[in-house]
Symmetry: C2
Subunit: 116 residues, 2 copies
Amino acid sequence: MSVGLTPEQALRLWHDVNLTMVRDDKPDLSARQVTLLLTVYLQAPPHTVRGLAAKLGVSKPVITRALDAMGKLDLVNRRRDANDRRNVLVQRTVTGSLYVEYLADMISERAGGLPK
Amino acid sequence: MSVGLTPEQALRLWHDVNLTMVRDDKPDLSARQVTLLLTVYLQAPPHTVRGLAAKLGVSKPVITRALDAMGKLDLVNRRRDANDRRNVLVQRTVTGSLYVEYLADMISERAGGLPK
DNA sequence: CGAGTTCGTTACGGAACCGTACTAGTTTAG
DNA sequence: CTAAACTAGTACGGTTCCGTAACGAACTCG
């Protein structure tokens, strides 16, 4: 499966996907929240607040607040690390998995419709 | 040029591009602003506030405020319609063109990383 | 032990954005 | 010429997010 995208196709794809997310009145996650969500779902655990902050290049409170918001939506889950009780481990949820899957299919569909 | 993307590849691409935008301390545009910008640069003029609001499925004040913010960054320009002075036409700028071009190349590069 | 370090969270003042409702200017219809 | 329709912008109250600085809890190690 080839993945080449011309800059013009890339732009069209980016526009279409963003438009879909804007029109879906859905939760409407910010760029930071989406990045955080996908990091958790694409990379191997464990995920700590500090580690995520470093990976995204943002401060810790940003991660804490993002976890608050996304936890309220049941997209991720917090849990204390039993080995080192200072740490908080971020875990996946069923709702989050479904959302990520929906996102993947939606982008994939938009990309498939691109070539003339 | 084939444009097929598996859901997994689409997800990885979406994550990588978002991560790049989060780390670039840049202007940090919202999803709505990006969609508005790309609509102006991808679709044929003229672009009015009302028309853009309808296309994005949002209210007029959202467009007005987005134009305020992006005009301050010199990404788009406002101009009164000479024929119907009630209308405001949204125009492209050099700075905006450069930003869109940068965005297109960045996404295209991320997409090109996998296949070869 | 106890001082120091590391972790996540909270406090706080400020900035950005939202939706509804209203305003001011322009055009159109009767 | 006036009243209605239509445009974009503004006002307002409320919510959310930000960055810096502090905080309490948990671990480390001399």
